[in-house]
C-alpha cells in the first residue's frame, strides 16, 4: 500500500444514539418558552428585560468562571443559558437589574462552578440562588409589593400570601381555570399553568426530565394538601397548591435537575414525593410563603442518601474481607 490512509482509531462503542447535553438544554429552553412567553405577554417589556438579562448574565458568569478556573469554555452545552432562563422564570417582572446579575452569579459561581461545574452541583443552582435572594432581599421577591404598579383585570394578590394570611376561604374565589390560564401574579414563568404543564409533558415524553420525579412531586403536593384540607378546611385544597407559586415550575424545571436528583426508580419516587410533602408542610405550617424552594433544597440534600437504594447488581461478587 503506497498511500496508506490514516485511520481513526478509538474505543468501543463506535455508535452513539446522538444524545448530547446541548440538545437536552435546547429542549428544556424551548419548553420553558411555553411558560415564559405568556409571562412576558402579561408583564410586558420589563419581563422580557429580566429574562434576557438573566440568560445573558448567566452565560457571562459561566465564561468568567471558565476563564478563572482555566477550563474549556462550556457555554456551548447550554446549561448556563437554561439556568439563567429558569432563574428568570422565578423572578417578578420588576426585579431590578442588579438582583438578576447577583442571582445568576450565585447560581453559576456558587451553585455550579464551585462544585466543579456541570454535573458536580449537589444543589439545584437556581434554587440556591433564589433561596439566598429570598433571605437577603425578601422585599424584592415579594410579588405583592413588586407587582403593585401593575393594573390587572384579576385579583392581583399573590395567592400563596392570601392563603398564608387568611386561610383557604380567602382563595376560595379563585377559579382553577384562571390559575391554569395564568390569571394570577407570580414569577415571570411560574404563573401560566397550562404552558408549564405543556412544556413539562413534552419534556417528560422526550425523556429530558424524569417523569418519576416530576409526577411524584406533584402527587406529594396534591396528596399532602388534600390531607390537610380534609383534616382542617382552613387549609386550601390540592388544586390551589398545585397551580400557584412555584409548584409547577418546580415540578418540571427545578426538582428534575439532573445532577442534584437521584437516578434509580425508588429513590426518584422518594425524592419527588418527599419534596412535595415538604412543600405543603412549609406552606401550611412553616414560616415561608412558598415552600418549594426550601423543600427542593432539602430534597437535594437527601439525594445522595436515597440514591443508595438501588437494585442489586446481577452477578455482583460481594466479598466480606
Amino acid at each position: 500500500m503506497s498511500a496508506t490512509p490514516k485511520l481513526t482509531v478509538s474505543y468501543a462503542p463506535f455508535w452513539h444514539n446522538g444524545s448530547r447535553i446541548s440538545k437536552k438544554s435546547c429542549n428544556i429552553f424551548m419548553a420553558s418558552l411555553l411558560a415564559v412567553v405568556p409571562g412576558v405577554y402579561q408583564y410586558g417589556v420589563p419581563a422580557l428585560g429580566v429574562v434576557a438579562l438573566s440568560v445573558g448574565s448567566a452565560m457571562m458568569w459561566e465564561i468568567i468562571m471558565n476563564i478563572l478556573t482555566r477550563r474549556p469554555i462550556s457555554i456551548g452545552d447550554g446549561n448556563a443559558a437554561v439556568i439563567g432562563m429558569i432563574f428568570a422564570m422565578l423572578l417578578p417582572a420588576t426585579a431590578p437589574w442588579w438582583i438578576v446579575v447577583i442571582g445568576t452569579c450565585i447560581a453559576i459561581v456558587i451553585g455550579k462552578h464551585i462544585y466543579g461545574g456541570i454535573g458536580g452541583n449537589p444543589f439545584n443552582p437556581v434554587m440556591l440562588a433564589i433561596a439566598i435572594l429570598m433571605l437577603s432581599w425578601g422585599k424584592i421577591l415579594d410579588f405583592n409589593a413588586a407587582l403593585a404598579s401593575y393594573a390587572f383585570n384579576f385579583n392581583a394578590v399573590y395567592p400563596l400570601t392570601l392563603m398564608k394570611s387568611f386561610g383557604a376561604s380567602a382563595v376560595g374565589g379563585i377559579s382553577l381555570k384562571d390559575l391554569l390560564m395564568g390569571r394570577q401574579i407570580g414569577g415571570i414563568g411560574a404563573t401560566c399553568g397550562i404552558g408549564l404543564i405543556a412544556g413539562g409533558i413534552y419534556l417528560m415524553l422526550r425523556g429530558y426530565i424524569r417523569w418519576e420525579i416530576a409526577l411524584s412531586f406533584l402527587a406529594g403536593v396534591g396528596v399532602t394538601a388534600l390531607c390537610f384540607n380534609k383534616v382542617n378546611p382552613v387549609y386550601a385544597g390540592p388544586g390551589i397548591h398545585l397551580l400557584t407559586g412555584y409548584t409547577l415550575v418546580g415540578a418540571f424545571y427545578l426538582i428534575t435537575e439532573d445532577s442534584s436528583s437521584p437516578v434509580n426508580f425508588i429513590p426518584m419516587m422518594i425524592y419527588g414525593a418527599g419534596a412535595g410533602i415538604l412543600t405543603v408542610l412549609i406552606r401550611n405550617i412553616g414560616a415561608h410563603v412558598d415552600g418549594v424552594v426550601f423543600a427542593i433544597l432539602i430534597a437535594n440534600l437527601i439525594n445522595p442518601l436515597v440514591d443508595k437504594i438501588r437494585p442489586k447488581t446481577i452477578g455482583e461478587v460481594i466479598t466480606h474481607a
Binding site: K6, T8, V9, S10, Y11, A12, N17, G117, V263, T313
Partner: protein, 421 residues
C-alpha cells in the same frame, strides 16, 4: 447508527440484526498475495515462534509458538513465510504476526495430517487441529477438570449488533450445524446441547437435534453471560448453587465448521463476515482466516479515506484497527467501515447524572457512581463498592451516555489494571 427515539421516557431498545431474504450468499474473497496470522502469547517472557522466515507451509499446516499455552494457528493457504513481527495490541496484549506469501491458487499444497485421523473424532484431535476454526471453538473449557462441562450452548445468534454471521449459518447451513452438534456430543460426552436462536429461526433450527432456546431480539440479551444466567440456569435453581456448573459456548459457525471438518477431512478456513459498508449496506463475505482486510475492502469496492474508521467486531464491543493490513481472525464476525464524517464526536464533559446508563444496564451496575470513581482512577473502590466486575461489557451505557463518556473503555481499563496487580 440507531438514534435516540423521540419518546425518550421509555427505556431505549437496540435490536439485533435479523437475517432475512435480503442477505445474499456470502461473497467469496480470496487473499491476493499474502495472509497474516496472529498469535497472542499470554506468558510474560518473550516466546519465540517455532518457525522462521523462509519456511514453506502448506494449507492446513500447524504453526506454533514455543509457549505451549498459546493456541497454534493453521495456515489457511500454502506459501512461504516472509515476515515475522511482534507487535502490541489492545491493553498491551502481545501479538506475534506471521506473514505468508501465498502460492498460486492452482499450486496449493495441502497438509494431510488431519485427513488421516478425521474418521476417528475425539476431543484430543479436535484440540490438536480444530482450535482455530472459523468461529473459534471454545475447547479450552473441557481441559478444566474442576468445572466439568454440563451444557454445551451453541450460539445461533450473534452477540453484537449488525452481525448476522451465526444466524446466517443456522438459517442456511443447519445440516452442518446438526453434524457438528453430533460430533460435539460424541467427542465431549456432554449430551445436553442447547441451541440459542432468535425467535424467527426456531423453525429452521428445529432439525438440529439440540434443545432450542430462543432469546429476545433486544441487545444485549444474546450475551453469553446473560444466556448462561437466564436460559441455562433456570432448570436447576438455587438448591445446588455451590456446585459450579460450567457451560461451554460454541458459535454456530464453529459447530458447523467442526461438523464439516470431520465430515470431509478437510479443515474449513472460510470465515463468514458481516460487512457493513460506508453507505450502511450489509453484505456477507466469506474469506479464509488470515486474509488481509484490504483484500476484503477491494472485493467490496470500498476505499479507505483519511479519518475513516475500520472496526473489527460489532459497533458496541469491537475494536478499531490502525491499518487495513490486519488479518481476518477466527472470531471476527463483523467488519465495519465507518466514514470519517459519521463518526460521533467525543466531547470532554463529566457525568451529569442523567441516569440513562442506569436504565439500560442489563446487569444493573450503578454506572453513574462507578464512572466517577473510574475517572478518578480509584479502581479498588469501584471494584469493592460499585460492582465493577459484574459488568458484562456490552457497551450500552456508553452508547446512550449524554456526556459521551467512554464508559466501556474506563471499565475495561480498570479491570485490566486490577487484574495486572
Amino acid at each position: 447508527m440507531i438514534k435516540r427515539s423521540f419518546f425518550g421516557c421509555m427505556t431505549p431498545k437496540l435490536s439485533y440484526a435479523v437475517v432475512d431474504e435480503s442477505y445474499a450468499e456470502p461473497v467469496p474473497v480470496s487473499p491476493k498475495k499474502k495472509i497474516i496470522l496472529f498469535f497472542s502469547p499470554t506468558g510474560g517472557d518473550s516466546p519465540q515462534p517455532a518457525f522462521k522466515v523462509g519456511d514453506t507451509v502448506s494449507a492446513g499446516q500447524k504453526l506454533c509458538i514455543t509457549d505451549p499455552a498459546v493456541p497454534y494457528m493453521l495456515s489457511s493457504m500454502s506459501g512461504k513465510i516472509t515476515d515475522i513481527t511482534s507487535m502490541t495490541g489492545i491493553f498491551g496484549k502481545k501479538i506475534i504476526s506471521a506473514t505468508i506469501a501465498i502460492d498460486d491458487p492452482s499450486q496449493q499444497s495441502v497438509d494431510e495430517s488431519f485427513k488421516s485421523i478425521h474418521q476417528a473424532p475425539g476431543l484430543g484431535n479436535a484440540m490438536e487441529f480444530l482450535k482455530c476454526l472459523p468461529g473459534y471453538p471454545g475447547f479450552g473449557v473441557f481441559a478444566d477438570k474442576n468445572h466439568p462441562v454440563q451444557t454445551i450452548a451453541v450460539l445461533g445468534m450473534d452477540n453484537d449488533l449488525v452481525s448476522a454471521t451465526n444466524q446466517y449459518v443456522v438459517k442456511n447451513n443447519i445440516a452442518s450445524v446438526k453434524t457438528g452438534i453430533g460430533v460435539l456430543r460424541q467427542i465431549t460426552g456432554v449430551h445436553n446441547v442447547v441451541l440459542i436462536v432468535p425467535p424467527q429461526l426456531v423453525q429452521v433450527a428445529g432439525s438440529s437435534g439440540a434443545t432450542l432456546k430462543s432469546v429476545d431480539m433486544a441487545y444485549p440479551s444474546a450475551h453469553p453471560v446473560l444466556i448462561e444466567r437466564y436460559l441455562l440456569a433456570q432448570r436447576d435453581k438455587p438448591q445446588n448453587q455451590t456446585t459450579v456448573k460450567s457451560v461451554a459456548f460454541f458459535t454456530a459457525e464453529a459447530v458447523a465448521a467442526i461438523g464439516a471438518a470431520y465430515n470431509t477431512g478437510r479443515i474449513p478456513f472460510e470465515k463468514i463476515i458481516t460487512f457493513l459498508s460506508k453507505d450502511g449496506r450489509k453484505r456477507l463475505v466469506s474469506a479464509p482466516v488470515g486474509t488481509p482486510l484490504q483484500d476484503i475492502l477491494d472485493a467490496m469496492s470500498e476505499t479507505l479515506g483519511d479519518g475513516d474508521r475500520l472496526i473489527v467486531g460489532g459497533p458496541m464491543t469491537g475494536f478499531s484497527v490502525y491499518s487495513a493490513d490486519y488479518p481476518v481472525l477466527p472470531d471476527m464476525d463483523t467488519l465495519i467501515l465507518q466514514e470519517s464524517k459519521t463518526i460521533p464526536e467525543q466531547p470532554d464533559t463529566p457525568c451529569i447524572n442523567c441516569g440513562e446508563c442506569i436504565r439500560v444496564c442489563p446487569v444493573k451496575v450503578p454506572i453513574n457512581m462507578l464512572v466517577r470513581y473510574l475517572e478518578a482512577g480509584q479502581f479498588e473502590v469501584a471494584r469493592d463498592q460499585f460492582a465493577l466486575f459484574a459488568c458484562i461489557e456490552c457497551g450500552f451505557c456508553a452508547y446512550v451516555c449524554e456526556s459521551r463518556i467512554p464508559i466501556l473503555q474506563h471499565i475495561k481499563l480498570a479491570k485490566h489494571t486490577l487484574e495486572r496487580l
